[in-house]
Symmetry: D2
């Protein structure tokens, strides 16, 4: 079927490619003139699409997506369908859905997982919206998703798609940190000769085999012992939103939160909290104090 | 090759079966007369095996394994090989290895993963011991492990096998808890209509796809919403030992520890710690106090 | 000096009393006719106060406070000062401050600590607002705060008072949980005969002596072993907001967050996350499975 | 009364001083000849004391204490009393108590808190041993402890004193970290002008006032903003043992453990766990990847 695709970066470009391979007509637009765009304005995009139009937005979350959806609200008509395939917060979706709804434009939020492998393996999709809207876009979802039974879920009303993808990423934080902690403990003891070899062996037959473990083994093959990488990790929003959603719902998430905080801490050169701890240790005792007797000093507390 | 196998429970029985299917001669012993044992005493087992004998111990960790290894020390001879395939703590291995070494008996600790699927899919093996000892037992390991490249690692000296398996289980704790937390958050919001369907969809194309996720989806198919299961989880030693090893090595394991503590807490009917918190809240303020003004009450703190 | 006080519940009533004892003229208003109010409407309150008027709002945070501030915006004049002494979120203060500012009304947010002891011991105050506004209200702050050097801080611009009080409460969560965990561990071992006696002994000479510990000892005297209290703790907003502020600023707060999550968990009758863990344990192994050999069963993983 | 004191370092020296001020005859011994010792050998110490002898051991925990107790076992007689006032692990006490018991020597373990302030303010004491042994030593405990009701507890049998002190220190870890986290959050926002002033104000009237807070304010007066201190904290054993005891008793200690792990992490220059997280982020997506469209790049996951 025909679809407009806004945002021809890495993800958008690959998705356009996968859709075209499956026979869809993709009309691409990007505000960057040097991108491989098919039209040079939103208006031109709208003109090329036959109603009811299907437009997939694939631009960074936050302000860029909000601006794009607002612009689409200006140029689309009742019955058209807008799909936000970016990483928007589900609360943004609820605003967008309500805004478009006033003009009769349908809105779907689509959480997309799969990274650079998506082009060939397919993208896992988690979508939110009405049954009716999802039905219209289903041929597109079917082409994007991996072959097989899984890889697609209509999770609920508008916002449910990105909420689900957000939780997916929260779980991802916890899993990555779990592997990291295990690797660190293996490396910490002389008893284990080669932590990298252990990780590789775990790819088969174990309870903890996973796609993430496969990726980690790839990374270890490229860079044994991860000597060339810094122990410094960014976070991209979904982890934070997951904790915030949990707090609003009084759901305890100790593991996912610990994983997020480990990332925060990894980016600190110095922790004011630990300065307090160190200062207190100095205050109440001889923790920084020398040895008056050769019997040694009792750390006082 | 010929091997003696002590302990014909679920795991031991399946392993014997897998070894026999691959052409090995397994002589099984269990102290239980009603088990499908081939011999009725350790002495008889030893007599049936040709030196250098290979004996696989597959009994519960702790006292049963310690007693069995001590008994084997009495009946085996220099050059024989004992493999502890149970869930012993690596510190026990170091004691066992040293004890047997005095009589020239070789010792290997083998961490085994794979559960009830191991019989058909193979068991992931993590072993510790000398090169020489591992070489002798390699045909057995090759038959037990899954087909393919992974699934086996000689992790280091005696103790390294169970240490590695212990860390594997620690990671497993973290992963299981991560999935659990994500599931709980999905269930907590009305926005997501069917958390079970979400988990099933995640089996393909996502970053968090894994064998554990596949198992979870199986469990959800059997028992939608996990209505019939209690939120109560045991722990079997390796998780605790992982934290203890981390503490001894000053390695922070926030995620794995949070997962262990969540299990502890799940087994409490009432938490004395939370009684303290509740009692303090009562003490310093009107947290349990009624409303004098219809303007309501300010919770004091 | 003259001050209007809106909200004559437990906290408001005590504060009015403390102010009157120190010679201030307090005109109290509460929407509840049966309260000991001096006027029966906001309009009447405003009429009784000489400009520039000082009005202290002491009603529950959230909607009640927002409504009261909006009402005051309608009846007060440029130069008047509104002080929100409740538990508002600092982000509400920023909205209120900007709204009142348009009419030239000054706004101060005052975090108040001290609970039921405040009447006699004084209230710790953390305030946010302009120097000018704080200077006007200083005589009131001086009467409310405890005698001595501490107990009052002008923390910054509008919002800083409640932000500071919020962090205070976050720390309080961590401290309460720390005492709770220690008490629980003492109770868990036979070795320690009387955990209550231990807590009482800690009130003097130790590093961990504190006002909270004094309160806990009072609670233990009333209810030895805390037999009559349930291990179930509410949370009142500030703890959640603290974590949210931390996440927005990428500050790791492992201890305060663990304390909040312990409260969440204490209120659950059953944890869906732990159902997942339990279901997975059943799936991958004989964790719920009987004993085929009297050698026992190896828990599989 | 007469007492032998072994170990004349900072703590031992101050305690000897406090005991002498209260009229006791203290005979000090330290293996260091340049210490202010009264005798130059254990044998000489024993000779100077009249039976039943009371000997206080105040040397570093672990090997030094174990060696000293073993030596005392050689030179003391039935009916004598040995008090270990150091920071021994309670499991060591149980070994020492049993060993001395064979010769009829009584053993008391005494956890001591109070730091450098103990000399003037008194030491909080938590002791373990038989009623009979504690009764003999009570005059010494009464002189060492602070004036007033608290500051002393006979916590249970041998080991209970150090167990209790260990838990005290665990709580201390949690409290210190709670203050540290609060301070860090205050420092992280522009809204709060002076975090140091906030901490000082909290010393009066708040729920979180404590001796540790007083110490922190002293530290902040010496070094505003803690500019001159590194965010790097050691741990001295009791925190680790607290977690280990909790694990053995299946008691969840999320806050105390988080505090310990924060210290571990503070001492790492680079975290292998975070290298894993960073490597995985690189593997599954464009997290380190540039911008092909000016629409920007969607971080893939």
């Amino acid at each position: 079927m025909q679809i407009g695709l806004i945002g021809l970066g890495k993800m958008g470009g690959n998705m356009a490619e996968r859709l075209r391979r499956d026979g869809h007509e993709v009309i691409g637009y990007d505000r960057n003139p040097s991108s491989p765009r098919d039209v040079d304005s939103l208006e031109a995009l709208v003109e090329k699409l036959e109603p009811p139009r299907l437009v997939w937005v694939m631009v960074p979350s936050g302000e860029p997506t909000r601006a794009t959806v607002a612009d689409l609200n200006g140029v689309l008509s009742g019955g058209d369908v807008v799909i936000d395939g970016g990483n928007s917060r589900y609360t943004d979706d609820q605003v967008h859905g309500a805004m478009l709804h006033e003009k009769g434009i349908r809105y779907i939020d689509a959480g997309v997982s799969g990274g650079v492998w998506g082009l060939t393996e397919g993208y896992a999709l988690m979508v939110g919206g009405t049954e009716e809207a999802v039905k219209i876009a289903q041929p597109i979802f079917d082409s994007l998703k991996p072959a097989g039974e899984g890889g697609f879920v209509h999770a609920g009303a508008v916002g449910a798609g990105h909420f689900t993808k957000m939780v997916h990423n929260g779980i991802e934080y916890g899993m990555m940190q779990a592997y990291g902690e295990g690797y660190e403990l293996l490396k910490a003891v002389d008893l284990v000769q080669n932590a990298d070899a252990v990780m590789a062996s775990w790819q088969q037959g174990t309870v903890i085999r996973s796609w993430l473990l496969d990726l980690l083994v790839l990374a270890l093959k490229d860079d044994p012992g991860l000597e060339d990488i810094r122990g410094y990790a960014q976070d991209s929003g979904e982890g934070r939103w997951t904790i915030e959603a949990a707090i609003q719902n009084a759901v305890p998430l100790p593991v996912i939160t610990a994983a997020l905080f480990a990332r925060f801490a990894s980016r600190q050169t110095e922790s004011p909290a630990m300065k307090v701890v160190a200062a207190l240790r100095n205050q109440f005792g001889g923790h920084a104090v020398g040895k008056e007797g050769t019997s040694g000093t009792i750390p006082v507390s």
